[in-house]
């Protein structure tokens, strides 16, 4: 089945692998290539693979300005989050049992925190403000002597809002608590300088930045030193923090993707900012449209919009030639609308009506223009079908209606 006619606007979910990255990865698979085990110390196959892995480690470190020895390869950001949160909490549990995170974190952070609660840790889940930002002052008022770890995401994956990790890092450092940041959505979108900010652990993903799926990394600070209990044992790879034969081609792919991101970040961002601006201008011409998140404090590649009186999943179905995500209940197995949008205090119906558009390196002007045309048309048609829209036009305040809820 060809998907070529479908416009892809779901880059925050995953990105295609940049062809330059894919061709680099190909060099590390076949008999003609460097297929060796990087842990093999006794022959050139191993040495060559090890060299490639270390070069990739440098590329990742360069993008975020840290020492390559502070980068630990993992299977992705989910594993990096798990390793950071469970690893640090368990290692330092004699120092305290309190953890702070937020209600708008990715499940890869929330679920490990839930697991730690089952192990006896006490977790505080901070509320965001109505724009989806976790304020440093909220962290400051929640932090205690017993707080071992604070885990706050850099950029929210549904809204694109940016948290002030520099300020939060100052608070955690003053308190002697470790600070973990999920930066899966950040690489190639905003500058990160780990030498300047007090972040102790940071999770990265390759496939959100034009690298392959199945590879990520955890930054683990050396000075002041952060220690953690490994989740996977066997062989002592990655200085004992993550055992398992290194996936050379995946690692090389991540390295190359991050090298390109470093070089082309400005170029990508300029292009995407123009799309964002155009999209906003056009969408605002549709009545009763709400932008979720903080327009003054977000990345331009993610745009989360609620189209009132239209249900998000039907909108996605109507936009059949456009690949986007919805905060609507129906797209998830749980039938619950997006917990992120609910955490903002949005009415459930607006959460049900939300769509996330996310742009990327391979988005074209045509993609954006065609999407805007189709979008206006489908919203119009679905509203013609919507009893809520009809009631709204009749001047009925929907908040005063007594619904026969199921």
């Amino acid at each position: 089945m060809s998907t070529q006619s479908t416009i892809y606007l779901d880059y925050a979910s995953t990105t295609p692998v940049d062809p330059r990255v894919a061709s680099k990865m190909m060099e590390f698979l076949t008999p003609e290539g460097e297929f060796g085990n990087p842990a093999s110390r006794s022959h050139r196959f191993g040495w060559k693979a090890d060299e490639a892995v270390e070069q990739a480690r440098s590329h990742v470190a360069n993008l975020v300005n840290c020492d390559p020895r502070e980068i630990v390869w993992t299977s992705g950001a989910t594993e990096a989050d798990n390793l950071a949160i469970k690893g640090v909490a368990r290692f330092y549990k004699s120092k305290g049992n309190h953890i702070i995170t937020s209600k708008i974190e990715h499940k890869a952070v929330l679920d490990p925190c839930r697991q730690l609660e089952r192990e006896g840790f006490d977790v505080t889940y901070l509320d965001p403000d109505e724009k989806g930002v976790i304020s440093p002052s909220a962290v400051k008022s929640a932090i205690k002597d017993t707080t071992v770890l604070v885990s706050i995401m850099h950029i929210n994956n549904e809204l694109g809002t940016v948290n002030d990790i520099e300020e939060i890092g100052n608070i955690t450092r003053d308190n002697g608590s470790f600070f973990h940041v999920d930066a899966a959505q950040s690489t190639g979108k905003v500058d990160i300088d780990l030498e300047k900010i007090n972040v102790d652990l940071m999770s990265f993903s390759a496939h959100k930045t034009y690298g392959p799926k199945g590879i990520g990394a955890l930054y683990v600070r050396r000075k002041p030193r952060v220690r953690l209990e490994a989740l996977i044992h066997g062989g002592g790879h990655e200085r004992g923090m993550r055992s398992g034969t290194l996936a050379t081609h995946q690692i090389v792919g991540m390295g190359e993707a991050f090298r390109i991101a470093n070089k082309e970040m400005n170029q990508d961002c300029n292009k995407i900012s123009k799309f964002h601006e155009k999209f906003l201008d056009k969408v605002k011409e549709i009545d009763h449209v709400y932008i979720n998140g903080d327009l003054d404090n977000k990345v331009p590649n993610i745009l989360n919009i609620s189209f009132n009186f239209v249900e998000g999943e039907s909108l996605i179905m109507g936009l059949k030639d456009i690949a986007v995500s919805s905060g609507s209940a129906c797209t998830s197995a749980s039938l619950e609308p997006s917990y992120v949008l609910r955490a903002l205090g949005r009415k459930d119906e607006l959460a049900h009506s939300s769509i996330r558009f996310s742009f990327g390196r391979f988005t074209s002007d045509d993609d954006v223009n065609n999407t805007l045309d189709i979008l206006a048309n489908v919203v119009y048609r679905l509203r013609e079908l919507s009893p809520l829209w009809e009631m709204h036009l009749d001047g009925i305040d929907l908040d005063t209606v007594e619904w026969n809820a199921h």
Binding site: E311, M317, E349, E384, P387, L388
Partner: protein, 134 residues
């Protein structure tokens, strides 16, 4: 979520050709019109179904139907499917329509069965409204 072909077809046809698929409204105050509305915006679906009936023998027959639905693709397809089943039926026949018939016709997955339940409830309510007017 992957949809059955039938849901997608029904949804798209309804969206692209609303009049032919009975999207619209009757005046709810008319004595030959019964209106049913079920669901809630906060739950993600609201169905409004209206029937226009006429007496026939010692019963009443559904002459025409109009509907509007806010909800997921399956909810919209379910209402559209129900509407098709209703025209020409007596009220007794319409009352006996079960959600499972709609679910089967559209091959709804278990997680979407509630859409067909909503459709069943909307016709029951519309008939009740009509009957109280007679």
């Amino acid at each position: 979520m992957a949809y059955s072909k039938k849901v997608v077809e029904k949804f798209e046809n309804t969206l692209n050709n609303p009049e032919a698929f009975k999207v619209g409204r009757f005046d709810p105050k008319d004595s030959d019109v019964g209106t049913g509305m079920v669901g809630a915006p906060a739950c993600g679906d609201v169905m409004k179904l209206q029937i226009k009936c006429e007496p026939k023998g010692n019963t009443h027959v559904i002459k025409d139907v109009k509907f509007k639905t806010y909800g997921c693709g399956s909810a919209i397809a379910s209402s559209s499917e129900l509407v098709e089943m209703l025209i020409g039926k007596t009220l007794e026949e319409a009352k006996s329509i079960k959600n499972i018939e709609i679910a089967k016709a559209l091959e709804l997955p278990p997680i979407k069965i509630h859409c067909s339940v909503l459709a069943e409830d909307s016709i029951k309510q519309a008939i009740e409204d009509y009957e109280t007017k007679q």
